[in-house]
């Protein structure tokens, strides 16, 4: 047996022995493998962005999805709005008003299995002091080292007063913002 084979066999054993390999509850979020992004249309041009810093607290057991819960806190200062000019502009009173509302928060209220690996997560999103009920479809993918939770939903920015006054013009910056996220978590 070559050293490489022995190493591979050991690596496999390590993976099999790790708690994430079996079914169970996922609660340790891996920030390096998790992303929150968004995309919107500006003068017909798709603009991609995201948030680099966010904290997720969660517990999810595919055997008992209804007992699952998630809370996500997003540091709005970590925004990438597509350009440095947009990053600066987004901090202002008409956009996120970040000095008064530095973070966004989502708290789940109910998780329901939709069949297969698909789930529906309901919860409240609080942004710029306004709270709205959201319904977020999530796809769960179990993995050896970590499971991933992928979701996407449309957020209407004007529901939260994101872009007030002159920026309320949706012909220039669309009202619909496509939010996508991937949360990676390992078991226990």
């Amino acid at each position: 047996m070559s050293m490489k084979r022995i190493f591979n066999a050991l690596a496999l054993l390590a993976v099999l022995a790790s708690p994430a390999a079996g079914a169970g509850e996922y609660r340790t979020v891996l920030p390096g493998q998790s992303t929150i992004g968004f995309e919107f249309s500006q003068m017909g041009v798709p603009i991609k962005g995201g948030f680099k810093r966010f904290a997720v607290q969660m517990a999810f057991d595919p055997a008992r999805p209804e007992a699952g819960r998630a809370q996500i806190d997003i540091d709005l200062a970590s925004i990438d709005a597509g350009s440095s000019e947009a990053d600066e502009e987004s901090a202002g009173r008409l956009w996120f008003n970040r000095s008064a509302y530095p973070s966004a928060k989502f708290v789940s209220s109910r998780i329901r299995a939709l069949g297969g690996n698909r789930y529906e997560m309901r919860g409240t999103l609080t942004l710029k002091g306004r709270s709205r009920e959201m319904i977020v479809p999530v796809t769960f993918k179990p993995g050896k080292a970590a499971a991933t939770f992928d979701g996407a939903f449309i957020l209407k920015r004007l529901d939260f007063g994101i872009g007030e006054g002159m920026w309320a013009d949706v012909a220039t910056v669309a009202n619909e913002v496509q939010v996508t996220f991937r949360i990676a978590a390992s078991g226990k």
Binding site: V45, P46, I47, S83
Partner: protein, 182 residues
């Protein structure tokens, strides 16, 4: 050897269309640049890009069409060095009306903004998002534009001088009307 005094009509129409669009896009580019962020600024940037891409397409058509005809001969009274300078300036103007919109398109891609012509036709991003490249291309776009400004000034001044001071039938070369043609 052609004895025509005037460029073929399609070339004349393309010349004036491109000239008109440059006279809109250039000051717009200078003006919009320093505006504070606002929806109007986003609109002006889009209009500038749409006009620029239109110029690029018209310029490409012009250059292709240019290979199909012999332009009217310059007056024999013009000195040889003037003939040479005229050809060089015309050549540079052709290069710039292609290179300027192209540099703007590339700059927009490098800055992370795809160009969508009239908000309808998405143009491919020929370069990826790259902040340093975006800043470099912004400098290139500006330098090319100020070269254009100088050359257009020369071009117009020379045409006016040949026409009004030397009293050559010079403006007929690019006239939209066929009056005075042999």
């Amino acid at each position: 050897m052609s004895t025509a005094l005037r460029y073929p009509t399609p070339a004349v129409v393309l010349h004036w269309l491109v000239a008109l669009l440059i006279f809109v896009a250039f000051p717009l580019g200078v003006y919009m640049h320093e505006l504070p962020a606002s929806p109007d600024k986003l609109k002006l940037y889009s209009y500038h890009k749409w006009i620029g891409i239109t110029i690029l397409m018209l310029a490409a058509a012009r250059v292709m069409w240019r290979t199909t005809y012999t332009p009217p001969a310059l007056p024999a009274s013009m000195a040889q060095w003037q003939h040479r300078v005229t050809h060089i300036v015309h050549g540079l103007l052709y290069v710039l009306i292609l290179a300027i919109p192209l540099s703007g398109w590339l700059m927009s891609s490098a800055k992370g903004f795809q160009t969508v012509w009239f908000g309808v036709l998405p143009l491919p991003d020929l370069v990826g998002k790259d902040k340093a490249l975006g800043e470099l291309l912004a400098g290139v776009h500006q330098a090319l534009n100020f070269s254009l400004l100088v050359l257009v000034f020369l071009h117009v001044a020379a045409a006016l001088k040949h026409h009004f001071i030397e009293r050559q039938p010079f403006m007929q070369r690019m006239s939209l009307s066929k009056k005075g043609q042999p």
